[in-house]
């Protein structure tokens, strides 16, 4: 069972009052408790089971404009006291930074909690096993699936309290249920793997096991006996599980921490057209039951809906307290980054999108971390399928795709098939004029 609010409050209070007593001018504490249970199966047999309970504290103390932090999993009273002391001592020797402070009081979240982020349902091990077994069985019903990398089901329940010496003290419970299935296909000496997963706050919102197994198998089989293609400039269609990555690059590049330091290709682009006029991007933290939803950010600041891009124009950064001060803007509750982030739907359907050029490449997997947010240069390994005249043909692998995010963003065409399955979501995406590196 996860610990209740009273317990977490008591620990946070003890830290804050001890810090005050030592002479800290301000302090904040986050106390988190989570219980997670995980079952893995492989080839229908249990491969592993794991249960973990964790309790941790993260404390920051301020002496005027000096600041230092400490975290620990050891929460008996004696060690809490010595931790606070250590934190306070470290704060003393840390140089001043005039921007260090707790968030503005008036920005604190003060609303009612109603987002429905906690599911009381307990999925016992037998149910977990049945769920993923059904997914694997479904995958193995495909004759070209010969092996599995394992399938897993996990249930995580958490509770936390964030308190600071400006009177903020709030927290809430969240839950997360995740099922994952990864299978191996084989044919004519070619061996490939692929996966599907579903992860939701509410058990009943999960995709069905059959769908997961079926999709993982289909993807793995579709990759068999790939060809390598010639290097050329091409239009590329990104599957939804890849197109959402471009939103993540975008959100990292417009976070105030990067803007304030100038380490992003999107610095000084506010009110400028960084996408073409058909692109709109929203970050909405208050969608009921959604994976990215939250009431307040890591500092206790309320998370309001933000229009980040309107008709291709950058309207807002993601801002926390410290970096906000540096760029003369108030926090908009994005100390922890984006919440539920998505591209608004485009105005073309998927079928028309993949028919829009005679020959294109459909990419549904990329590997490597070849994105440079300072220059916008993008280069990754990729695999997918050739599209000719609107039809997905043979699989393609061991190629690279490259471009620069500045021009990629201008050349995006979005389909109208957006679903809010993850915390970052994109419709199927076409990007014109990228470079494919192959033979």
């Amino acid at each position: 069972m996860i610990k209740n609010e009273d317990y977490l409050n008591k620990v946070a209070e003890r830290c804050l009052s001890k810090a005050k007593k030592l002479g800290a001018t301000d302090a904040s504490a986050i106390v988190v408790n989570s219980v997670s249970e995980n079952i893995n199966i492989r080839n229908k047999k249990i491969d592993g089971s794991e249960r973990s309970e964790s309790l941790g504290i993260n404390l920051t103390t301020y002496i005027n404009k000096k600041k230092s932090s400490i975290s620990s999993s050891n929460l008996n009273e004696k060690s809490i006291d010595s931790l606070v002391e250590r934190c306070f001592e470290a704060t003393k020797v840390t140089p001043e930074d005039e921007l260090n402070s707790l968030p503005d009081k008036e920005l604190h979240f003060q609303g009612q909690k109603k987002l429905n982020l906690f599911d009381e349902t307990e999925i016992n091990n037998e149910k977990k096993i049945n769920f993923i077994r059904e997914a694997e069985d479904e995958a193995f019903s495909n004759p070209q699936i010969v092996n599995t990398n394992g399938s897993a089901f996990s249930q995580v329940k958490s509770n936390f309290i964030l308190s600071n010496s400006n009177g903020f003290s709030d927290g809430y419970k969240t839950s997360q249920f995740t099922a994952y299935c990864e299978v191996v296909s084989k044919n004519n000496g070619s061996m490939e793997r692929d996966y599907e997963y579903t992860s939701k706050r509410f058990y009943n919102d999960l995709l069905s096991p059959k769908k997961i197994g079926n999709r993982a198998a289909e993807l793995a089989v579709n990759k068999l006996n790939p060809r390598k293609i010639k290097s050329e400039k091409m239009n590329i269609v990104f599957d939804k599980r890849i197109s959402k990555n471009f939103l993540s690059y975008f959100s990292n590049a417009i976070h105030s921490s990067a803007i304030a330091k100038g380490t992003t290709f999107l610095k000084d682009k506010i009110e400028k057209k960084i996408f073409n006029e058909k692109i709109n991007i929203t970050d909405k933290g208050d969608i009921e039951k959604a994976n990215g939803s939250k009431y307040f950010d890591n500092e206790g600041v309320e998370v309001k809906e933000l229009t980040l891009v309107k008709d291709g124009i950058l309207k807002n950064y993601l801002i926390d307290t410290y970096n906000g001060k540096k760029i003369n803007k108030k926090s908009n509750g994005r100390s922890g980054g984006s919440t539920n982030l998505y591209f608004e739907n485009g105005d073309i359907n998927y079928e028309d999108l993949i028919k829009s050029d005679e020959k294109m490449l459909y990419i549904n997997e990329t590997i490597g971390h070849g994105t440079n947010l300072i220059t916008g240069d993008y280069s990754v390994g990729a695999s997918g399928r050739m599209i000719e005249n609107g039809e997905l043909l043979y699989p393609v692998s061991e190629i690279t795709i490259a471009g620069n995010l500045n021009s990629i963003f201008q050349n995006i065409v979005l389909a109208n098939d957006l679903e809010l399955n993850y915390s970052t979501n994109s419709p199927t995406m076409l990007v014109t004029g990228m470079t494919v590196g192959g033979r």
């Binding site: 309790l55 050891n74 990398n149 010639k230 330091k261 100038g262 380490t263 971390h369 490259a402």
Partner: protein, 470 residues
């Protein structure tokens, strides 16, 4: 004597009884105890941006029967907590009867000292040095617009309590000093990153103002990239520099030779033992025994002494890297590669320091022999798909080679290749084997562990370069 039960309501003998009682019908398992402390001090944008200290104490209790692992971990070392973990493990293994495998090799080997890097250098001296680094890096040139520098230090004490009462211990220091420099000229920005580290105290790495060399190197890479042109795209010859570019070895063959993927037959290498997987002259080892290296361990996280494991010898695949469970299931011995990120994580076969040994060629010869290709000197990270064998790694410093001569620097690009075939494309192995500077972290199934890599210069006949220029 154990150090983990002093503040607990249970002593080591009682804990041992719980362990033995839980594991006596299992094939393997242990109580793994861990006490870690770590610090991270970050200078960014001319200021000490953060100074964090973390302590973590907890245990992971593992029971294995056949190929089934049950794991329970907690950060409360108490009678109640251990008993409840024990119940949990027993309930996962109700119907099985195994025989506890008590065979574990003893060792007195020590590849690093018990130093506590956090306490042996005061916080204020670390802050002072970070400020010096900042000033020095900024003074190098007016183009330097941003400097980020950090000290990361850790001391981890572990104990492994096995059924029957055997207690194995290790103390592991680890530090890393990192500098990143951003330069800007005519509206163009580029960065360069460099770092050093290993299992010693900070000061061991800071002798002779070594930190200046770290700044110099980060600045040099950033400045080189300011002049870089778009990289070519497509298949071509690639010369790799010595040292850190051995990420290639780590990704191309290292992961594919980890025991778990081969027992499960999901690795592209699973049926290739005894077969030729690399050119003649290519020998690759995974070595946990090099003094003070980031990937070295006295014992692994199951208590097995580490060793020097030959993976590929003169082109022939010899061995996989094993933890105890995968070794038992494949009828072989653990190679001391059983590792975990922390007590919160299960053990898996993981690399230590993965190295390609030196050959006879010079880097100069390699470059001379290339008509059209690239010379890659520095890398970011890499990734591999174990099953298809396709792997990538990202250049952060590379040059064009035209008609046997090094040309202009090119923009960072991803290189992609196929693990089981790419090392057969090795045309020359250099005589300049070098280890990386001690900064690598390897990720697998969500767990990060410190690792090392090393290699000489290499000429590879063909790899696909992910540039934008055709």
């Amino acid at each position: 004597m154990s150090n983990f039960f002093q503040n607990s309501d249970i002593d080591v003998n009682k804990a041992e009884k719980i362990v033995s009682d839980t594991l006596n019908k299992c094939d393997d398992g242990e109580l793994y105890l861990e006490d870690s402390k770590s610090e991270s001090i970050l200078l960014d944008d001319n200021k000490i941006k953060s100074s964090n200290y973390t302590t973590d104490l907890g245990y992971g209790f593992r029971a294995i029967t056949g190929d089934v692992v049950a794991y329970s971990h907690s950060n409360e070392i108490s009678n109640k907590s251990l008993k409840s973990s024990s119940e949990n493990l027993k309930s996962s293994h109700k119907s099985n009867i195994g025989s506890y495998n008590s065979d574990i090799k003893k060792t007195n080997q020590k590849f690093y000292s018990d130093v506590d890097p956090i306490e042996t250098k005061s916080l204020s001296s670390k802050i002072e040095l970070l400020n010096k680094i900042n000033e020095y890096a900024r003074s190098k040139d007016r183009s330097v617009k941003q400097v980020t520098a950090s000290f990361l230090g850790e001391k981890k004490d572990i104990e492994i309590l096995r059924s029957g009462g055997e207690l194995l211990k290790d103390t592991r220091p680890l530090v890393r000093i990192n500098v990143s420099v951003m330069v800007e000229k005519k509206g163009r920005k580029e960065t360069g990153v460099y770092g050093i580290g290993g299992r010693q105290s900070y000061d061991d790495y800071l002798v002779n103002d070594n930190w200046k060399k770290v700044c110099d190197e980060a600045f040099r890479i950033a400045s080189t990239n300011l002049e870089s042109k778009p990289s070519p795209a497509g298949e071509m010859q690639v010369v790799l520099g010595p040292g850190w570019p051995a990420i290639l070895i780590h990704e191309a063959v290292g992961h594919g030779l980890e025991g778990d993927f081969n027992r499960k037959k999901t690795s592209a290498f699973h049926d290739l033992v005894g077969k030729k997987v690399a050119s003649d002259g290519v020998t690759i080892i995974d070595d946990g025994t090099i003094e003070n290296r980031r990937g070295s361990l006295n014992i692994d996280d199951e208590g097995t002494p580490t060793e020097k494991t030959v993976l590929i010898e003169n082109g022939i695949l010899k061995n996989f890297m094993q933890d105890r469970m995968n070794a038992r299931l494949m009828n072989t011995k653990s190679t001391g590669n059983g590792r975990r990120e922390s007590y919160k994580h299960i053990v898996m076969p993981r690399m230590r320091n993965t190295i390609m040994l030196g050959g006879n060629n010079t880097q100069e010869e390699m470059i001379k022999s290339v008509n059209k290709g690239i010379f890659a000197v520095s890398f970011g990270g890499g990734q591999v798909d174990i099953t298809s064998g396709k792997f990538v790694f990202n250049c952060t410093e590379a040059y064009e080679i035209i008609n046997g001569k090094i040309g202009s620097p090119i923009k960072g690009a991803t290189l992609i290749g196929d693990g089981p075939s790419s090392l057969k494309e090795v045309l020359m192995v250099g005589n300049d084997m070098m280890m990386d500077p001690g900064i690598g972290t390897c990720g697998k199934a969500g767990q990060g562990v410190p690792v090392g890599v090393g290699q000489p210069s290499l000429l590879i006949n063909k790899m696909t370069v992910g540039g934008t220029k055709i």
